[in-house]
């Protein structure tokens, strides 16, 4: 359980990963009922304090932490302590899980059936399972799966049940509680529910955090939550939410447990169930409220093939090792530990850095399917030939696509991607079977592969230009979400490739400055560890040198003759984002005269972008993604170019520093040289 496990290796090719086992295979050959009723005796935490789900509630309500806050709240509000106590109790009632084996068995039975229909295979790395089992025995464990689908936490519990591991308790958003029966079922299978926002509600925070800590400290069950906070609609990892991570690290920092093991889990779907749902949501069709009946309507998904799922349980990361030399644990010595305090700056920084490291560990073990490469190529091809598409018949020749995929496969491997490409099958077959699985997004006709953009009149009749644009964008965004699965592999080299083109000089320091500017600009978009600019730069240089794309000659970074193909590919990967951010900047400058509220931002920028797209001044319809727009806004706020003005009883408005936004736009567009960063030199 070493912290080195989360740091990337010097040479990504040397990364060693475990093999997978398909757990559905056995299910296809033996009785599901017997499986659901099997004898279940998981390995438990060695210092487990045995207790039931309702004991837990009592422990929480009797804790000094909660008592302290009850007294505080009662003093501040004038409410009787009993009233506040009752409120605390009802908060806990609303939140708490009721983990029982019965419902788990029921789910196990149903999920068997569902999984077997939907998926070709569910592959799990068994060595990871063994490591997890060991960790559960030794320390309180926190499971940190990636979040791409509703499926994720059912799948996690299903796998743990299959391998006879302790079932986790799972932090779930309150929105699930809307589904009456299902909500209760989930509760009984270990889900506990937290409100999406509870801002300054001290009592809620106290009860909630104590509840999580108690489960962790007693070793009741592994605690599971999503670092990303919500499902990623784009298949890119989302920047981490720190609240729960803070909570689960606290017992270690305060000395209440010897260590806590954090286990990143990477769940990769060959085809995501919510694929087009996400695209629509990003384009502004609001997401349907979760309801049980809604879920049943989604039944038609049951008739489709969703390929395989790979679940990789990563190296457990010891919080103790992470904190070694980073956090002064003695800082808690002088104030009673039950008094809630804001985490100190060093703790905040530590938790933030750890979160990024864990997300990168998650990303590194995401399995990439051939389709991820194909969609990258198809998208790039689409954008490059957008204008000539009609003329040439559009799409890519099969051979061209295969050749490109094989080339990209090698590049991916060089960069250390966890690629699952069946090497014993001829590439052409791999390509066509991948395409087959994603028939909703691509069609093959006359040996050419097209994105299903509905060119021609068949579907387009009666649609306005904007409607047609949006329906095409659904396909583009869906494809982009698969391309995004590989972004973490390419992002650092791509930033370097873009910097090489934009820097206007080959001098290493100039290239680094531009790299650093871009990296900083996109810090809300990609998972880039804070403070690791130099490391990232060197990693990128290393990869490009290793693959013969650049040469280092006396402080100069030079692109080689053979490197252009890679450079073109890498810059094209980043280009939609680069342009997207520029568009958002331009929009903000133009809109700055009016007082734009935060809520108006997304619809307004969307209208602006639709106009640009229709007039042909912008190529990338994926810029319509509200995710990109929000990230861009967040980045501008972080850089101080946009401020949120909060007035009482009025919605917050955005105050734009036009000069600054303008210059950022120009710098992104390569019209202005990057300003030399003060702090970070190579």
């Amino acid at each position: 359980m070493a912290s080195e496990a989360v740091c990337s290796h010097r040479d990504p090719m040397l990364k060693k990963r475990d093999d997978f086992e398909d757990i559905l295979e056995e299910r296809r050959n033996s009785s599901d009922l017997r499986y659901a009723l099997k004898c279940y005796t998981p390995v438990l935490y060695k210092q487990l304090t045995p207790c039931t789900a309702s004991d837990l509630k009592n422990m929480v309500l009797c804790s000094t932490q909660v008592h302290f806050v009850i007294a505080q709240v009662s003093k501040e509000t004038g409410a009787a302590p009993e009233e506040v106590q009752a409120e605390a109790s009802s908060i806990l009632e609303e939140m708490a899980h009721r983990l029982q084996l019965g419902p788990i068995r029921f789910f196990a039975f149903v999920l068997c059936k569902v999984f077997k229909t939907l998926f070709r295979s569910v592959c799990v790395n068994e060595e990871g399972i063994q490591r997890l089992q060991q960790s559960i025995h030794e320390h309180p464990v926190v499971l940190l799966p990636s979040h791409r689908s509703y499926m994720d936490f059912l799948l996690m519990s299903y796998i743990l049940y299959t391998y006879d591991l302790a079932l986790p308790v799972i932090a779930a958003g309150m929105d699930f509680m809307g589904m009456k029966i299902l909500g209760e079922m989930l509760r009984m299978s270990g889900a506990f529910f937290i409100r999406r926002s509870f801002g300054g509600d001290k009592l809620y925070w106290a009860v909630f955090s104590e509840y999580v800590r108690t489960m962790l400290k007693t070793g009741f069950a592994p605690v599971e939550f999503f670092l990303e906070g919500t499902r990623s609609r784009t298949s890119k990892s989302l920047t981490p939410k720190l609240g729960l991570l803070n909570i689960v690290m606290e017992p270690f920092l305060k000395g209440e447990v010897f260590d806590v093991a954090l286990v990143p889990v990477s769940i990769s779907y060959e085809r995501i169930l919510e694929e087009s749902l996400y695209a629509r949501e990003l384009l502004g069709v609001p997401k349907p409220k979760e309801s049980t009946s809604g879920l049943f309507k989604a039944r038609k998904v049951l008739s489709e093939n969703y390929g395989s799922i790979h679940v990789y349980f990563g190296q457990p990361v010891s919080v103790r090792s992470l904190a070694e030399g980073r956090v002064q644990r003695g800082q808690f010595n002088l104030i009673p530990r039950h008094i809630p305090r804001r985490p100190s700056e060093d703790v905040q920084g530590f938790v933030n850095d750890s979160a990024y490291q864990l997300l990168r560990a998650q990303e590194e073990n995401m399995v990439l399917k051939p389709w991820v490469l194909l969609s990258s190529l198809l998208l790039q091809n689409h954008h490059q030939n957008q204008n000539q598409n009609q003329r040439r018949g559009g799409g890519m020749m099969m051979e061209e696509l295969s050749e490109g995929a094989v080339w990209l496969r090698e590049l991916c491997r060089q960069y250390g991607a966890f690629l699952h490409w069946p090497d014993h099958v001829p590439p052409a077959e791999v390509v066509s079977s991948s395409l087959d699985l994603h028939r909703g997004l691509v069609t093959i006709s006359d040996g050419r592969v097209h994105l299903n953009l509905g060119h021609g009149a068949q579907k387009g009749a009666g649609l306005t230009a904007e409607e047609e644009l949006l329906s095409q964008a659904v396909i583009i965004l869906s494809c982009a979400s698969y391309r995004n699965q590989a972004l973490h592999v390419f992002v650092r080299p791509a930033l370097l490739a873009t910097a090489l083109q934009a820097a206007g000089s080959a001098h290493k320091q100039d290239v680094f400055n531009t790299f650093n500017f871009l990296r900083n600009m996109f810090a809300n978009e990609f998972i880039l560890c804070p403070g690791a600019a130099v490391q990232d730069f060197e990693e990128a240089c290393f990869l490009l040198m290793k693959t013969g794309v650049v040469l280092m000659e006396q402080e100069e970074v030079l692109v080689t003759e053979n490197g252009h193909r890679t450079i073109t590919f890498l810059t094209s990967i980043l280009d939609p984002f680069l342009q997207g951010y520029q568009v958002v900047c331009r929009f903000l400058c133009e809109a700055s005269t009016e007082s734009l509220t935060e809520a108006q931002f997304v619809p307004a920028v969307r209208t602006f972008i639709v106009r640009l797209l229709l007039s042909g001044r912008l190529r990338y319809s994926e810029v319509l993604s509200s995710d990109l727009q929000k990230n861009a806004l967040a980045a501008l706020q972080r850089l101080g170019a946009v401020h949120k003005l909060k007035r009482e009883a009025e919605p917050a408005t955005l105050k734009v520093n036009t000069v600054m936004v303008n210059s950022l736009e120009d710098t992104l567009g390569g019209k202005l040289p990057t300003v030399k960063p003060v702090a970070s030199r190579l």
Binding site: G255, E256, F258, D259, R329, G330, P336
Partner: protein
């Protein structure tokens, strides 16, 4: 040497291990453990269970021996660096001295593992260049004056039981180092029955002090675990703590008056008032000064009549958590007996391994019954239960009343009274445990203990985390066998407790076991501090724990102590370099 009177202590004591030469553990020809000599209750007894425990716990084997060098090789001791002018003048004032290798080597170390380990290998580092034996306060004054005049480094030496590297000679010291042995200043000068105080020379050894006072019907009640060998002056200069502090107080509560000779002259108070408001208490510059400011020569101590009745006791708890909760409650109600100690499960097992051969079938039958009652009938898990040992003192009636009160509290935490024998054996072990380390070292097992004090709410956390850290560090540092990592809560206070840790491991296969052990101990101390424990409860800082002083007492605190040192001893005559 021309000293007569008291026997030279080093003639009856080991030169490279703990305690008396005639008392030691060994495995006899039958492979059974026995304790030699006649001095202790355990002396001459066979301990049938020790071998299995020893081999099982450490993975050690009686086949693999690591014996010590039997005799001190005097040629390994560096030739003394003598300051001739100092020696000449010393002769003229008639204070006895020696520069024999044995005398010097004996006073060049304390009882840290690394010190003993080196001695067993026959390695002798920098030792004092000569030893002087002042006979009284005036002799000390003369010696200190001479040392100042000739710029000689003085290191006061009392009982030699330091476990903080305090007696090690700083290797960088180039002056002649003189060990000032206080052992000849061992008289009780007067007893004042009206005020219940005794005026005692600081070189007196704990057991002699108690014995002599007992003859007059008194005691000090100060009983540190080292009391057989440690001296009054040593207690004062390390802020010692005694087992029965709940009744008698720690050393700082016991002293009424201290006389210390410093390079600037003698420091003492003008009266023996029980409490004074005269600025910061100057006694507190002396208490814990660890020989860096001067030599404590005479101390007035509180004395008490010898208690009429003593009773041991013990309580078994289902687990350590319950035991700590009970001790906390006892402290809250301020009804702690003279001594109350809680051993964890590992120590409980260890205690069992030290049970002597039972004399009758009846006793073994009774033991079996007890075990059955506790584990089967009461459902205690033998791998989790732990035991508290108790010592009550006072008049008979009150003791019995007190005993009931404590057992009633214990019952609330699931504690079961487990008899006087177990209690008494627990305390006896205190005195023989140091001998056991030497046995371990004969078979590739090294061991050390360390202590801390910690607020009540952190006692369990410190115990758990430090024990786990020791195990983890041993593993990380390549120790092949899992170590013994154990603790006990040995003192209770209103606001916290004193916790004592033991760790031991089998070092076969390690190229530098002492280095590994030092790394583990260092990590353990870091862990203690990170969990809100103190740098030391009573062992002191010495040179072993100096690196943490700044973070412990703050920058200004260190500056304060330094400025006192600079004023009192500007030429660093008392140059043992402890503390700062």
């Amino acid at each position: 040497c021309v000293i007569c009177g008291n026997a030279w202590r080093h003639e009856v004591m080991k030169w490279n291990g703990w305690g008396y030469s005639d008392s030691r553990f060994l495995f006899n020809k039958k492979g059974q453990a026995e304790f030699t000599g006649k001095r202790y209750k355990l002396s001459g007894m066979i301990l049938p269970a020790l071998k299995d425990w020893f081999e099982g716990t450490f993975g050690a084997s009686l086949q693999h021996k690591s014996p010590a060098t039997p005799l001190l090789n005097t040629s390994a001791v560096q030739a003394p660096t003598l300051n001739q002018d100092f020696v000449e003048e010393l002769k003229s004032i008639g204070v006895p001295f020696s520069h024999e290798a044995e005398d010097r080597a004996f006073r060049g170390h304390g009882h840290c593992l690394h010190e003993i380990f080196a001695l067993r290998e026959g390695k002798i580092g920098r030792v004092p260049d000569m030893v002087v034996w002042p006979n009284c306060h005036n002799d000390v004054e003369k010696i200190v004056a001479l040392a100042c005049k000739h710029n000689v480094c003085l290191i006061p030496y009392g009982g030699g039981t330091s476990v903080s590297s305090a007696l090690e000679c700083p290797p960088e010291e180039t002056r002649s180092i003189v060990s000032l042995d206080t052992s000849q200043m061992n008289r009780i000068l007067w007893i004042d029955e009206k005020n219940l105080t005794a005026h005692v020379e600081a070189g007196i050894i704990g057991q002699d002090l108690e014995r002599l006072l007992n003859e007059s019907g008194y005691c000090t009640g100060h009983e540190p675990d080292s009391m057989e060998f440690s001296s009054l002056g040593g207690w004062v200069s390390t802020r010692a703590s005694g087992m029965k502090k709940n009744i008698y107080g720690n050393i700082e509560d016991l002293v009424v008056h201290i006389k210390m000779v410093t390079p600037q002259g003698v420091i003492e108070k003008s009266c023996q008032g029980p409490r004074m408001s005269t600025g910061p208490d100057i006694h507190h510059f002396i208490l814990g000064s660890e020989g860096t400011l001067g030599v404590v020569t005479e101390v007035t101590m509180k004395i008490r009549p010898v208690p009429e009745y003593q009773k041991y006791g013990s309580v078994v708890f289902p687990n350590f958590e319950q035991g700590v909760a009970c001790l906390r409650e006892v402290a809250k109600q301020r009804c702690a007996p003279a001594s109350i100690r809680l051993m964890d499960n590992e120590q409980f097992m260890f205690g069992h391994a030290l049970k002597p051969q039972v004399s009758s079938i009846f006793t073994s039958f009774l033991d079996g019954l007890k075990k059955f009652y506790i584990t089967k009938f009461k459902g205690f898990d033998p791998s989790r239960l732990c035991v508290a040992t108790l010592l009550f003192e006072g008049n008979r009636e009150k003791v019995l009343q007190h005993e009931k009160q404590v057992y009633d509290i214990a019952a609330k935490f699931g504690g079961l009274a487990a008899g006087e024998d177990n209690g008494q054996r627990g305390y006896m072990l205190t005195f023989v445990i140091a001998y056991l380390r030497d046995l371990g070292m004969d078979y590739y097992v090294i061991a050390e203990s360390f202590e801390t004090s910690v607020p009540w709410d952190r006692v369990l956390d410190v115990c758990r985390n430090v024990k786990a850290r020791v195990v983890r560090e041993c593993k990380d540092k390549g120790v092949q066998f899992s170590p013994l990592s154990s603790c006990r809560v040995t003192q209770t206070y209103d606001a916290g407790a004193c916790v004592y840790f033991y760790f031991a491991f089998n070092y076969r296969g390690l190229s530098d076991p002492v280095h590994v052990y030092e790394q583990v101990e260092h990590a353990a101390r870091e862990e203690i501090l990170a969990n809100g424990g103190s740098l030391s409860h009573h062992h002191g800082v010495g040179k072993l724990r100096k690196e943490w002083m700044r973070e412990t007492v703050s920058e200004v605190g260190v500056g304060m102590l330094q400025s006192v040192k600079d004023y009192v001893d500007p030429k660093n005559i008392f140059g043992n370099r402890n503390l700062l």
